[in-house]
């Protein structure tokens, strides 16, 4: 697809839901290394509830309202760190896409930029703090560059997903500064950040859905 419409967004959220159901135990184990093992449960719950909400609202609600509904539902259903940050991301993304009917490359760049900024503000995290931000900020950057060069949605997303994977690798060198993982300090070096992994999964699944 060359643009994401309201009905595509609903399918995308279903794909995210299915993906997080599959990745649940992997994320539990990953978060368990230097955290409290809740991440897999959080993400599975958040997207299951989000899908139920957007499916009930239907495409006629439009992109922005669907994203807002998804975010609001997540905030209620999965109010852990990553659940609330994801909710914040969706709510900010909804604001960024107000009045839009389709998401092309420029809109997608705006979405992820708003998402990343929302997380940074809410979590008071900075780049290099070993969080999801260290994946989403470069993702937004790549998409902005792709949009500037007039790239189509699918290749732009492919580039973003590749950058996400590279950015995730870079989190290995960082020391966690936030959340339960922060307590592990130097022991987090060498490990990929769990939240950043969630960021990669979001972008990769989105890229696959758009690629069809």
């Amino acid at each position: 697809m060359d643009a994401i419409r309201a009905e595509d967004l609903i399918s995308l959220i279903r794909a995210w839901r299915d993906m997080f159901a599959v990745q649940r135990d992997f994320l539990i184990a990953l978060d368990g290394k230097v955290g409290d093992s809740d991440l897999g449960i959080t993400m599975a719950k958040a997207f299951a509830a989000a899908y139920d909400t957007v499916a009930a609202e239907g495409p006629e609600a439009g992109l922005s309202k669907l994203l807002r509904g998804a975010g609001a539902t997540m905030a209620k259903t999965a109010p852990s760190t990553m659940g609330t940050l994801t909710a914040t991301g969706f709510l900010r993304g909804a604001k960024a896409l107000e009045g839009k009917d389709t998401i092309g490359t420029p809109e997608l760049a705006a979405f992820w930029r708003a998402y990343a900024t929302g997380i940074a503000e809410r979590g008071k995290a900075r780049l290099g703090d070993k969080t999801i931000l260290d994946v989403l900020d470069p993702v937004a950057g790549v998409l902005e560059a792709q949009a500037a060069s007039g790239a189509a949605l699918a290749p732009a997303l492919k580039a973003a997903a590749d950058e996400a994977e590279a950015a995730l690798e870079r989190t290995r060198t960082m020391v966690a500064q936030h959340g339960k993982a922060a307590a592990f300090q130097e022991k987090t070096v060498g490990l990929q950040d769990a939240g950043a992994t969630v960021g990669v999964l979001l972008v990769k699944t989105m890229s696959e859905v758009v690629a069809g």
């Binding site: 409290d36 905030a75 109010p79 852990s80 760190t81 809410r122 979590g123």
Partner: protein, 333 residues
């Protein structure tokens, strides 16, 4: 997993149902069991709200009651409640004098309480926050803002609750709560893991003859895994960290909380307290108030924590004040 439960997904809500059935002193608002508030409110009093994950009873909701807290947003096991739940509690307990949030220093809770405070602000409700960070093992001196909040929050609740009951303003209640926060230090030691119902197996492993000093109440790492030492040696090691930050000199007065993490029998807590008391005695300092039992747990985790509050003329009467909540009753000392 050996637990009394039905569906793990209903663990928290069935527990809450049990609590409301047992304790008419508390009720809930917004048709949401996880928005717990005192059944009868005192007009004009500063409201005090707390919140946090489940699995730590009596923390957090157990201290909602007379002379302590007015409301609590209740999360899933080891998970933050939602900003909306905190906001609903805030609205319900505000009596025009504003609301103080007292909770532990965990990212999920902070993010959500911040959101709730923003929502309350839009309604014109004055909100202040005091974030407990008493766990000396969770970060070094100078980086106290990174420390976790653990059992020492009990003293912050106690001081704030008594101050609010005395009719003080939001600013004054906040100042005294913050003073208690700055004067309390906690250190814990874990002997075994706990099991989160929805996960079903131990969160982490501690070897059969090991202990971990400084482990957090969700299993966060502490200062190091060592062989289990005799009780007195364990206390000496723990208290050295506390005394380094809260010097105890001749004539100084303290309140002490020896807290069981869940699986450790009270008998052992008293053996630990015996040594704590000896150490204060050696320094010529006085343990004026002491509580021993389960005040902040991690499900069935075996282990204990020691919280120490340095008293002064302002804090002393607040700690001595009577209190009566479903999980904590105290006659005036």
């Amino acid at each position: 997993m050996k637990k009394f439960l039905n569906d793990p997904a209903n663990f928290v809500d069935e527990m809450l149902d049990g609590i409301y059935r047992a304790h008419p002193q508390v009720t809930y608002v917004n048709d949401d069991r996880r928005c717990l508030v005192v059944a009868s409110r005192k007009a004009g009093k500063v409201g005090i709200a707390t919140g946090g994950g489940s699995g730590h009873l009596p923390l957090f909701l157990g201290y909602v009651g007379d002379n302590m807290l007015d409301g609590c947003a209740v999360g899933g096991v080891f998970q933050s409640p939602s900003a909306e739940q905190m906001y609903e509690v805030t609205k319900a307990i505000d009596q025009g004098a504003g609301v103080l949030y007292i909770y532990g220093n965990y990212t999920g809770d902070i993010i959500n309480f911040d959101m709730a405070a923003e929502l309350a602000d839009l309604d014109g409700i004055a909100v202040k926050q005091v974030v407990g960070n008493d766990d000396v093992a969770s970060s070094v001196v100078g980086e106290e803002h990174k420390r976790r909040g653990v059992a020492g929050i009990f003293f912050v609740y106690k001081a704030a609750g008594a101050a609010a009951a005395n009719g003080l303003s939001l600013d004054e209640v906040t100042r005294l709560a913050d003073k208690a926060r700055l004067n309390v230090r906690t250190i814990g030691v874990a002997l075994s893991s706990c099991v989160v119902p929805e996960i079903g197996h131990a969160t982490f492993d501690v070897g059969a003859d090991e202990m971990e000093i400084g482990m957090g109440i969700h299993g966060e790492p502490g200062i190091g895994r060592t062989k289990l030492a005799p009780a007195d040696a364990v206390v000496d090691q723990m208290m050295a960290r506390v005394f380094a930050e809260l010097p105890a000199g001749r004539g100084d007065e303290f309140a002490v909380l020896v807290n069981g993490l869940g699986g450790t029998p009270k008998e052992e807590l008293y053996i630990l307290f015996r040594r704590v008391s000896q150490l204060f005695e050696e320094k010529g300092a006085k343990v004026k108030y002491v509580w021993i039992g389960e005040f902040a747990t991690a499900m069935e985790m075996a282990g204990a924590s020691i919280s120490v509050l340095k008293l002064d003329a302002e804090l002393d009467p607040l700690i001595a004040a009577p209190a009566n909540t479903p999980f904590f009753a105290h006659y005036k000392a």
